[in-house]
């Protein structure tokens, strides 16, 4: 098996064994927690900054612009400069805001993102938690973020924030359903909820190919619903700039605003990573049934490159949506969910069940 050279299982195992030998089990576990936490924190910070930069460059290209060009070569350091600026800004709180909830909200939002990111398999062995109910866990924790958004809007003592938060609440609660159902479609196909097993199941062909029609429908539905879940355009009603100024985070400044901002991009990453894992094979290289030599060449590309390549592809599609379409109205967003996506999803799940039962797949 060629991709074993890229397997991280031995590395993580060795660290674990080494720590267990030198420390008591309690200390060893604590150190492991800290290491994992720091690694994720660093990853989120760096990847978040990268995504902000990528978004600005991608949108610039769509708009026939150059985007940031001044800070660093090709503006590479722009987001770092922005981040430093946000860190240094004064934290302003509206006088009649609810002190506790106002300060709690950004943490809730970002914690939800942290929780969700922990089950994603980046590469073989590079996954901090491998539940057997991974998909279920992910859908559960990803909906915690909306509480933070609702709190932010409610506690800010601003009508725009409140409208934005209520919109966001209605939107995320609805689209949670479609995200879960389209994932369930694939769970029916994969026969497991464990992310590592789902990836392993795509060794011969990615689910979007082997599951053909129902998988493609589920992919499209997931993309749409996922975009809505991350509050990104064309579903960015919660912060609809031309209507609500900045929606639920109107009253936040400095680092608290940065947390919302970062959480948005981490959510974008999570949605894309889930799409990549469940539909596009996660870190699995592209394999075609009988083309042995082709498959071997593909195996030489490291799995995490496969993973991030797919994630970036999905992120690009979502950005493409955002920079092309006008925003929907709040009632239309609910119409889209309840009158279109939900029925399609339910029919699709049946279709997938039929496909699985009749074994009419590759």
């Amino acid at each position: 098996m060629a991709f074993n050279i890229y397997d991280f299982t031995t590395l993580t195992h060795n660290i674990h064994v080494g720590l267990a030998e030198s420390f008591s089990p309690f200390v060893a576990t604590t150190i492991e927690w800290v290491i994992v936490g720091v690694v994720y924190l660093l990853f989120i910070a760096v990847f978040g900054l990268f995504l902000v930069y990528a978004e600005r460059k991608v949108c610039a290209a769509f708009q026939q612009r150059l985007g940031p060009m001044r800070v660093g070569p090709w503006g590479l350091l722009q987001t770092i400069a922005d981040f430093i600026k946000l860190l240094m800004k004064e934290l302003i709180m509206p006088r009649k805001a609810d002190y506790f909830l106002y300060n709690l909200a950004p943490y809730l939002v970002i914690i939800a993102s942290f929780l969700a990111i922990s089950v994603l398999p980046f590469a073989p062995g590079l996954q901090s938690m491998d539940f057997d109910i991974g998909v279920f866990y992910l859908t559960a924790v990803s909906s915690v973020g909306v509480i933070g958004i609702l709190l932010a809007g409610w506690s800010s003592n601003n009508k725009y924030s409140l409208i934005g938060a209520m919109r966001s609440g209605a939107q995320i609660l609805s689209y949670e359903l479609s995200v879960s159902l389209s994932l369930m479609t694939m769970v029916v196909f994969a026969g497991t909820m464990q992310f590592s097993a789902i990836v392993e199941g795509q060794r011969d062909a990615w689910f979007i190919f082997s599951g053909h029609v129902p998988a493609i429908i589920a992919f499209v539905v997931f993309l749409v619903a996922g975009t809505a879940e991350t509050n990104r355009g064309p579903f960015d009603l919660a912060e609809a700039e031309s209507e609500l100024v900045a929606g639920f985070h109107t009253e936040y400044s400095g680092i608290k605003f940065a947390m919302f901002f970062l959480a948005e991009y981490i959510n974008l990453f999570i949605i894309s990573a889930v799409a990549a894992t469940v539909f596009l094979g996660g870190w699995m290289p592209l394999h075609f049934g009988n083309l042995e030599s082709f498959n071997h060449v593909m195996d030489f590309i490291p799995p995490f490159i496969w993973f991030f390549g797919k994630v970036l592809f999905v992120i690009f599609i979502i950005m493409w949506f955002k920079w092309t379409f006008p925003r929907l109205r709040v009632d239309q967003i609910l119409t889209l969910e309840w009158k279109y996506l939900l029925p399609i999803n339910l029919v699709n799940i049946l279709l997938m069940a039929l496909v699985v039962l009749t074994k009419f797949h590759f």
Binding site: V58, A60, A61, F62, Q63, Q64, R65, L66, M69, W320, F321, W323, T324, F325, Y340
Partner: protein, 160 residues
Amino acid sequence: MKSFIEYIVSIFKGLWTLLTGMKVTAKYFFTPWKHLTHQYPENRDTLVMFERFRGEVIMPHSEKNEHLCTGCGICEINCPNGSIEIISKSILTPEGKKKRIIDQHIYHLGMCTFCNLCVKACPTGAIVMGQKFEHAVWDRAKLTKVLNQPGSVIAAGVKE
């Protein structure tokens, strides 16, 4: 059944319109070298304004430090904002006659709206519109300019 078909058709029609829109943006995304950005301070060397561009009022001087302004004050009358002030002085000509000439042609750039009326009204063509457009200064007092250079005289042969 009919409404069901309409429902399905509406989904595909809607998707199609979305895809046409995405095609337009994609076309520009994949031709990034056709960008429109002018990187302004860097392109100063190549940046040429149109010859008629109205950037500021200037008074051209020849190499001999001569200008064409007689100090008649028509520009001052024509200016809608009062951004031109003519201060004249009287001198004795070599023939011994008293003559009023321009002492200072004061131009308040901060009040100017670049309407071109002074230039159009000037009977001798002494003032023209310049192409300079970078007028930002640290001190507002610097926006008040004296257009005739120190020591300059009126060119010979300019009709009064």
